[in-house]
Structure formats: structure tokens, C-alpha cells
Symmetry: C2
Subunit: 120 residues, 2 copies
DNA sequence: TGTTGACCTAGAGTTACTCCAGCTTGGTAG
DNA sequence: CTACCAAGCTGGAGTAACTCTAGGTCAACA
């Protein structure tokens, strides 16, 4: 599959996919006879995982580390597990931030309602 | 209160607070006789709101717009409400992204467990 | 045959901080 | 009184993670 289709599937932009490749976040991507990139289903799975990690705030440095671990096979699974567990903890903190923000918005909106009612 | 205390209260860094001031996200901040910034309780409330909005991904452009609306009094409440409602919708989308990522991590971690058990 | 669309590379631009150099001020220890 | 330290100040450089642009190739279709 070509880059535009891969982008549609994983949710990253075409530019971001090429950028991630330059940064060493992707395995070597095959090229067709025309010199253009061809993405396998596995490549797209990996891109989708990366998209999910970056959407939830994993820094590229961590992603690069995580991507690097794959190159050394199953022996790096404990370390990979550690990275993902830490990110899972990060997800919880983000969820708290979301909840706090939702609370604040609720109060603000309530206050706007009160003010607008007063002036009617 | 001085900038370091304000930073502790709102959760933004000192640099970020000064940066937000330069960008016009803050009302005029009073200065003490020593020329240093003094933050009122209201200032800190506003900083805390900004911190919560940026932690949940509101772009500075939107924050600047939102901050600008305050300068024109209650007549801008409908627009301010619109901004906050849109951000509330954004929070939901973020929550979905968090959930999806948590699911993916769960599967990945499960797979690591399976592989590690196999090799024992 | 020519033009359209998808792809390519290298590099510049943008956003939102973050850090740094070099300065002033206020309080305290000798 | 002086020396020093912490906290603050400004202006500007540096960084992360994209995002966009210019200029070019190639395949396919009118």
C-alpha cells in the first residue's frame, strides 16, 4: 500500500509518516519499482501504534527508544513492557487532567448561564 | 504573590507564565516597588484555567482568542461559552483516544506475557 | 503529447515552550 | 559596611515535533 493509503489507515499525516521514517521510528520501508514507498500490513499496524502513543503524549524520544528495542528481538520484551506500563500510568494522569478540566469547564459554563439569566 | 508562588499554585513553569504574558494571554500584571510581578488571586485563577486548557491540548491561538474576549465584558459571553463548549467536545475526543490507546497497550502487554510464558 | 495527480527529497517555517547570559534587587552573615 | 546568595528581570537563542514549500520524477489518462 502507498503512503496516502497508509496515512488514511493509521491517522498520521503523510508528512508525519515520512518524518518518522527519517527519525528512525520505522523499520526499513520497502520501495516499489517506481522508487515509492510500499507499506505492509505490519508497517501500518506499527504506524497505528505510534499514532496512538503520540496522540496520548508519548515524546518522540521515548518512541525512538521503544522502536529501537524491536531491533533486538524478544530479549528486549521486559524493557518494552516497562515502557508501555509507564505510558499506561501516563494515560491515567492524562485522564485525571481531562476530568479536572471538564469540572472547571462545567463551573465556568454554569457561571455564564447564571450571568446571562440575571441580565434577562 | 510573586511569580514562583504563582507557578506553584497554577502548575505552569515560571518561564511559561512570563511567556504567556508576552503573548497577551494575561491581563496586565501589577508590579511591586521593586519592579517585580505581583499576582492577585484572580490572576492565579486565570493562570490555573489556562494551565488546564493547555494541558488538555487547547492551542495558544484559541487561548489568545478566549483571553481577548474577556477584555470586552459580558457581551462576549456567548462566544466564550462557544469556545468552552468546543473544548469540552475536544475533551471527549481525547478521552476516546485515551481509551483506544489503553486497549492497545492492554493487548500488547498481554502478548508480551504470552511470549514470555512460552519461553519459560 | 501534454497535463494531471501522487509521490519524491531537502530544507525552511511554525508552535509552544525552555533555557541561557547578563543584569538588578533584597535579605542576611561576617 | 560589605560580600554574597536567592529570586527576579529582559532579550534572545535553542528545541521538539511537526508542517509546508519548492522543485523534481513518474504513470496514467484525454
Amino acid at each position: 500500500m502507498r503512503i496516502s493509503e497508509a496515512a488514511r489507515h493509521c491517522g498520521l499525516s503523510i508528512d508525519t509518516i515520512r518524518f518518522y521514517e527519517r527519525c528512525g521510528l520505522l523499520p526499513p520501508i520497502e520501495r516499489g519499482p517506481d522508487g515509492q514507498r510500499r507499506y505492509s500490513a505490519l508497517d501500518v499496524d506499527w504506524l497505528t501504534l505510534l499514532a496512538s502513543l503520540r496522540d496520548t503524549g508519548m515524546p518522540m524520544k521515548t518512541m525512538r527508544h521503544f522502536a529501537g528495542l524491536y531491533r533486538y528481538g524478544d530479549q528486549t520484551i521486559p524493557e518494552r513492557r516497562k515502557v508501555l506500563l509507564e505510558h499506561a500510568a501516563h494515560l491515567e494522569r492524562q485522564r485525571d487532567a481531562l476530568d479536572r478540566c471538564a469540572q472547571i469547564l462545567k463551573h465556568k459554563l454554569q457561571r455564564y448561564d447564571d450571568i446571562t439569566e440575571d441580565t434577562q
